[in-house]
Symmetry: C4
Subunit: 410 residues, 4 copies
């Protein structure tokens, strides 16, 4: 898509000219529990910070005296046009940030022609989001529960609602340790719902095991407390009670062999199956081998294994391993248009942003998400223009140089 202008001085929100400022506003607007939940990384938070700082290892080599009066920032994703090579990553419980919640995000994405990932643990049903999105290409993020029945239902609903792909999150066999979340004894306030599963809850039959998993407590009462799964020394005991993020999201039993095959069958032919949370070349090869449709290099925004490689640092080995056989996306720490440019130059086909969308919501609901997308879109276009590139596919390693010292980044 060829857009017309690079934002002129007249159209700015003078209070919020950068993602950094957006973050600051959101920081002040969110209540403590939400702010901590959204902003925190696991443990000391070093991977969260390093996701951001990794971009500081690269410099751009701008080319000059090329006619860049017509720049096309668009890319194709799931067969549709995306205005920029960037989407909004799935993040849970967006109503915590603003009443607009996932609908606000969906509408902003639609207006900006940007793909959206919807979390399994959204506070809005996937059907409502799909409706708000129209024909914008959306993706359902999946935590494949130990009780497959839930996932089966979810997938079928997503198919019906027109989702283009399922992103199976694979970096969450256990929940990362987030100490502020623990200290705050984080809970979704009662007036919000994990919308995609309330139906199951109302049926009060939340936790049937399926397939070859062990099978227990079928006669539990409705409104029981949520209990995480565990291993009793001999066998795995499944989570029980209402479906919450803390009890049900983590699934340590997932494996390439058993679950990817099942998932592909469930999703086909309407939806693609991607894996989100790949961080090594070895696993990228396995992903190709097991026939997934795409990879998202991710460490869950630094919320899972603290001490893992920054995603930008893991990206090159994944790109190298995949050799173009399937698309490679990346998320984590993208806060500038130049970050997008760098990720693409290192071989990513597309990037996703998580927290910036939440900050946008917190700032002004749907309008805030749009503002966030506009800021990044302007910066991407400007970066391309100043680097002398007019098409996304021309962004290559030639435009980058790695610096030995981390250097400075604001």
């Amino acid at each position: 898509m060829v857009m017309n202008t690079i934002e002129g001085p007249g159209n700015h929100d003078l209070n919020c000219l950068t993602i950094k400022e957006l973050e600051k506003h959101a920081y002040n607007l969110m209540d403590k529990q939400t702010r901590d939940y959204y902003n925190e990384g696991a443990d000391s938070g070093s991977t969260l910070r390093e996701n951001i700082e990794a971009f500081g290892k690269y410099r751009i080599r701008p080319r000059v005296l090329r006619d860049v009066s017509s720049i096309d920032t668009s890319v194709e994703i799931f067969g549709q046009m995306n205005s920029i090579p960037l989407g909004v990553a799935p993040t849970a419980m967006q109503k915590l940030a603003h009443a607009d919640g996932e609908l606000g995000t969906a509408r902003a994405c639609k207006n900006m022609k940007v793909a959206m990932g919807l979390s399994s643990f959204a506070t809005t049903t996937l059907e409502d989001v799909a409706e708000a999105s129209g024909d914008n290409p959306n993706v359902l993020q999946l935590y494949l529960f130990e009780s497959r029945e839930h996932s089966h239902k979810l997938i079928q609903r997503a198919k019906k609602a027109g989702y283009k792909a399922v992103f199976l999150t694979v970096d969450t066999p256990f929940l990362g340790r987030r100490n502020l979340e623990i200290r705050n004894q984080f809970k979704l306030p009662p007036h919000f719902k994990i919308a995609n599963f309330t139906e199951d809850e109302d049926a009060a039959l939340v936790d049937e095991a399926t397939g070859n998993s062990s099978n227990q407590s079928k006669q539990r009462k409705p409104k029981a407390e949520p209990v995480s799964g565990y291993h009793d020394g001999e066998k795995r005991v499944l989570p029980t009670g209402p479906i919450t993020f803390h009890s049900h999201a983590a699934n340590p039993t997932l494996s390439w062999e058993r679950d990817i095959e099942w998932l592909k069958q469930e999703c086909s032919p309407e939806m693609e199956v991607w894996v989100k949370g790949i961080a090594t070349g070895e696993d990228a090869l396995l992903a190709v081998h097991h026939g997934v449709n795409g990879i998202v290099v991710s460490n869950h925004g630094g919320r899972q294994l603290n001490g893992a490689l920054a995603t930008l640092d893991a990206l090159p080995e994944v790109v190298e391993a995949v050799q173009g056989k399937i698309p490679v996306h990346v998320d984590g720490g993208v806060r500038h248009g130049t970050d997008v440019f760098k990720a693409l130059a290192l071989g990513a086909d597309f990037v996703w942003v998580g927290r910036p969308a939440l900050w946008g919501l917190a700032y002004k609901g749907q309008a805030g998400v749009e503002l966030m997308l506009r800021l990044l879109s302007d910066e991407i276009r400007l970066c391309m223009g100043l680097a002398g590139v007019t098409r996304v596919q021309d962004i290559s390693k030639d435009y980058l140089v790695k610096v030995s010292v981390l250097g400075l980044r604001g």
Copy 2:
């Protein structure tokens, strides 16, 4: 030129012994809009900072027991003698700093025998500056507008006024994003003029398209609002209205093929054509190929593409590519005599300083610019003496060592 002394304690301005102190004084003396406009870099400002810090990667290897009682710091530029291998880079709207404006700079440069670059967007006409400069070798910085008529006129006037060369700025296909400038809604105060174009404005015929560009709004009234150019999806729409930096400076249509040839014809035979804003070896080769007379390695003082390589870091690949066929200059972050020495040791023929001259103006008008030049001149001479070098052309890579860690710099 052989100067006599290294500044003795008697002749100092004890309030201002370093460029750093000059910066501090200027900071306090300028109004906020001007300070922000002068000092800011694009986006987070990391490239601005890195331009400065890049000098910290090199250490000097001083040689001893050589007779250095007679040091010649002079070099030739455009066939004339320059007292030091340094000039004052073109910066726009110098009257914002001090009533002396460009005339103050010109006189200081003349007194110190130092070349001056005049911005297209000066607040003084190029003729007045030329007159103040006498036979000091000056250069006209050019933003080649989409409406060539303006540029044509400017070039012919510059020729007539005796300018030695045109520096075509090539790093500004779009304006870099400078957030303070946006937030301050920066505008030249009404009592100042973009002096080189007021004539055009008075004629109220500001924006005729030329050549193969599209052509519109000929019937606009005088004093219309300035409007930037843009691409409407199908074709390029030219800027209109009074000529301002924000509306007219950026020109995304420039290309080696079309515009350099035109410019060479316009300037020849009196003026040389240089390109200012080269940052890669590839473009340096193209510059040689297209027959320009010289190159300024520059990233516009960190004001255009934030994330670009520091100019000192880009310099070696440019020097390597050019192989001495045309002169290579560099600007960005020069604040010490040792910085000049390092740039020259890495292969530059000459360096330019931008902000330090503006700080000099803000501090004391013409006298402040002279002080700035005296400080740097003394430091250059002292550095050469302490390094054991008596002629500029003897400064070579042998006098440098690159350190792996950034180290410290004050």
Copy 3:
């Protein structure tokens, strides 16, 4: 050992979720003399800090989609099962931290099934500790005194009490310079005893030389002042007076040839002989050559030679030299489960923590040590799970990448 759960939100001490927080609490709870004594490193403290920061040079490469529902964190040590690959290192005078002292540590270790090292300079007798430990595998740390009689007695008592091994500390030929300790004129308060030697003191016959050492002052009165050993220019003069850490711990005469042989005979066959304080591949080879049973790579928590290599940085050359012939342990700066994972990936068989146990004691006595062990145990298990590893022996170099820049660590 297969443990069941990763700590759920319900069981946390919300005031103390990390070792860092534990340190902070302990800092506030200890009196100044104790705090300084426990926390200080030698000289400027740079090695102490670098022990910790060295872990920041490595990133973990997590593998996904492996069934990690059953994780076994246990390892064998001295033929017994340890719940995690971590033990509590010997640290002197634990009653300074809390009345529970070494008994508290012993009981916590026993409850958590974690090996304990007992310092020669404990404030509790080795027999009392052994009793509290039951069949938990304990180790006696040994300062081999110049007067062998003391050491002989101690060793025989340790044998009888069931200690599994002796850790001969070899990095203390002299005491490191700890300036706060000097300034505070550190002394064990009179109501505490260096418990293992009070018996000797009561006999008022503290300092008989043995073997080929010189022999003097047999007729000294009880309760004389402790005096360090020294060299009078011609011969070595032994320490005299009551046995204190400052007078008797340092022994500059120790050598591979003379002392290791003697020690092996003293300890065999019941107890193994290890050397604690190896920091080079060369000495590791000598250790193998002289038939010791194992090595602890250690720099005494940065309390001896400031400026020595961080232990994690010394570990690889030791592992390389030893080639699996004897076990290699490491201590120094371990504060996170990921630190343990990294040390093991670099080839350590086991790690020890020193100060964290003291902080645990200071915080809540035995319960505090248990909390410390629980935190680290949870983190180790979680790190393994998130990295895709289910058995300690599978942790290998493949899971690590060294980063060129130190990066960030909280």
Copy 4:
């Protein structure tokens, strides 16, 4: 020399346990002019800081289980025994720090059996210092003036007084730019004298030119203002007036060919000729070629060319070039016993400390210098013991490892 003990807790000055503390005390005790003059480096001070930080690039590899009960820290210098491989570097005008002045330094050095360098610009005559030093091996630092008569006299007096060598300072063709000194308009207070030249001054015939220098102003009155030398465009004009550091120390005319030969003849056979201020392998080779007796790698404590390599970083190339043909000493930034160890391991034969002696003087006159030497002596001995070395000549590269990241230093 075998010393007996490593300082026990009883003998400490509890207010001053490290050189860092000594620096702090001195900072508070000196008046501003003196503090600035002593502590400052040239320009931004980065080389001064980097001299210190360079030691942070190396770690020590300690060896264990070697009998280190008898450690000999002594070395030979000028055929005499020095208790440690360290001397006190020549620094000007020591009475500014304390009335004890150079005599205090001389007596402290004598008591500690440590060589002393006396500055040409001492506030005490070289004869008085020689007397206070007894048979301690002293060295006269020489600024070879443009008027050779002064230097001739000084050298002959030094010979007579029994100085062992002359250290010709070669890094001062011009004075480095020290901005605080300039701002303070530094002047030696009138009650102090540049003692070695008052005789000349009293004769009121201060500035006769000698040799082939030009010759002027013979008829000047006593007490004229000191005037620096300069080049008038055609020829060199010599300094005139009373001999001060600022007017006479710098001599840009010195060269290997002319001056080293002359100096060797002047000094022989009683005194050796060394060059102080070598910073490159190339100049080290020239020094060997011109037959000097030894080299001091120095950058004048960061007071001359700011931006020069740290002396520890320049040391290896000098050692490599010299290949043991003449001794190589080093000064700059030595503040710890481990620094001495590192310099020696990198090939230096001896180190010198400048500012620490001045701080000692400022703290407590002669006693303060002794304290400084005791602190460093204790630290050197302790470092050797903890590293497993008993003789200075055994300190080698095997005991060091260079770390890629600067690391931490307190």
